[in-house]
Structure formats: C-alpha cells, structure tokens
C-alpha cells in the first residue's frame, strides 16, 4: 500500500498520511463492502482515488499560489508549495533522477498514471489493474502503451531542454 502511494506522490510523509486515511476509510466503510471484488482490489481502489485527489489538491494549491503571487496578495516565495520528493526505495545518487521521473509520471493523464503506477511501480498484473480500474485487459494494455510513450516523450523533452 505504501509503495503504491509512493508511486503516486513520491514523498514518504504524504504517502504515509494517505495510507492512514485509506485504512481509516476501509475500517469505517467495511460494512458497505459488497464483495463484488476482492478486498485487496477494493483497498487499492480507495488508495488510488485518495492519491489522485491528493495530487489534484496539490495542483490546485500550486495554481492558487501562482495567481496570488500574480495579483500580489502575498509574497510568491512564501506561497510556493514545497517539493520535497524523496523516494525511500531509491538510492541517494538516483534521487534526483527519480524526482524528475515521478514528476513526469504525475503529469500524465489520470487513467494512464493509475495504470502505469499500479503495473510498473506496484507490479500488479494487468488483470488486477483492470479490475481496480473497473476496466478490461485490452483497455489497460492500451493505457499502459500510451503512458510509456508519453512518459518517454516527456522525459526526452525535459532532457533536451536541460541541455
């Protein structure tokens, strides 16, 4: 669970907070679980939704900070959302590269991002990913292909601009 959340938010503190929220939600809504899917699928689904909501919230925060700094409501530097990405699953020398990689993963459309993280980061089978996403195997396959292609493009564009 923590690994999945880290794949989405790439910050240990945020991932742990989301994990806590997921478990609280699971505990509180256990009565509503209809057993239409397996328990792990249900928990993964809750975790994915929480992570995506968190990312949306962060993006909103950044946008608000930008507009506030534009109209001079507050000092721009005090409104900047700290980007303290640190993935504990990566070695120190790969942290910088990992930060860019996860940043680009977060820029993908939500469906592609979900499929990519669940399959490539968490290591779930495509059929499992499909059931978490309420989709079918072919659709997830297509999403994964598109996600890989887009991610490669984004990374290449980033490294081209860095030159």
């Amino acid at each position: 669970m923590l690994n999945t959340c880290l794949g989405f938010v790439s910050n240990l503190q945020d991932a742990e907070d989301i994990c806590q929220e997921v478990f609280v939600d699971v505990f509180r809504s256990m009565d509503t679980f209809e057993e239409a899917s397996s328990l792990s699928t249900w928990i993964y689904r809750i975790a994915t939704n929480k992570c995506l909501s968190f990312i949306r919230y962060r993006k909103r925060q950044k946008r608000a900070a930008f507009f506030k700094s534009l109209i001079g409501l507050d000092q721009a530097e005090s409104l900047q959302v700290p980007d303290d990405s640190f993935h504990p699953g990566l070695s120190l020398e790969n942290q910088e590269r990992g930060k860019i990689l996860f940043e680009k993963i977060r820029e993908l459309p939500e469906k592609q991002q979900t499929a990519f993280v669940l399959n490539r980061v968490e290591g779930l089978e495509i059929t499992e990913v499909a059931s978490i996403m309420n989709s079918n195997r072919n659709a997830v396959d297509a999403l994964l292909n598109r996600a890989s292609r887009n991610l490669r493009k984004k990374l290449e564009a980033y490294y081209t601009n860095e030159e």
Binding site: E21, V24, V121, L155, E156, Y159
Partner: protein, 114 residues
C-alpha cells in the same frame, strides 16, 4: 543547476530503468497506532463534546422563548390598536351627521327656562 545531457533518449531510458531498481520501502511501525488515533479522533468528533451539546440546547431554548415572546407581543399590539382604528373610521368616514340630532333632544334645557 544546469546539467549537460549528451543524449536525451539515453537519459530518458536511464530514468525509466529506475523503475526496475525500485525497492519496496519498509512500512511505518507506528502506522497501526496512527490509524487507531485517527479513528478515535473521528469518533470523538462525530459524537460531539457534551458541553457543546448543552450550550447548543440552551441557546435553542432561549431562542424559542424569545421567538414566542415576540409573537405574543405582536399579537397583543395588534388587538390593542384595532378598536381605535375602527372608531376613527366610523367617525370620520361612515357616521352620518343626522344621528347627532337624537343626542341633542336628550339634553335637558330645564335650567335655561328657569
């Protein structure tokens, strides 16, 4: 800091290869305590503070008493003002002058003749 990357495609591939090197992080040993604490907090918030319930109840009661008193007051002032209006209407607009003649016949003029 500006980096120099000779081959963007190679760099992108290197970055993507990181996904194969990702290790699963150790879970927080205090997660269970954190979840327990969060659940307790939410239950406490849902049940509400007893003092708050008392304050809310008392405030509601006072509001109801005030509203009742205000309504009563409105009703009383309306009934008190009603006869005066009716009288005013009667005497200004609707009373024919002829009826005062009967009143005049009731006056005793006996003292005047003496």
């Amino acid at each position: 800091m500006k980096h120099t990357h000779t081959n963007p495609e190679k760099e992108a591939r290197k970055s993507l290869d990181l996904l194969n090197q990702l290790k699963r992080p150790d879970g927080n040993p205090y997660m269970f305590s954190r979840v327990n604490a969060a659940l307790e907090l939410r239950e406490k918030a849902a049940s509400g503070n007893p003092a708050q319930i008392w304050i809310f109840g008392l405030a509601s009661l006072l509001f109801l008493i005030n509203a009742f008193a205000w309504l009563q007051n409105m009703e009383t002032s309306r009934t008190e003002s009603l006869p005066a209006e009716i009288l005013a209407e009667d005497y200004i607009h609707y009373q024919p002058m002829g009826i005062y003649e009967d009143d005049l016949t009731l006056v005793n003029y006996s003292n005047d003749t003496e």
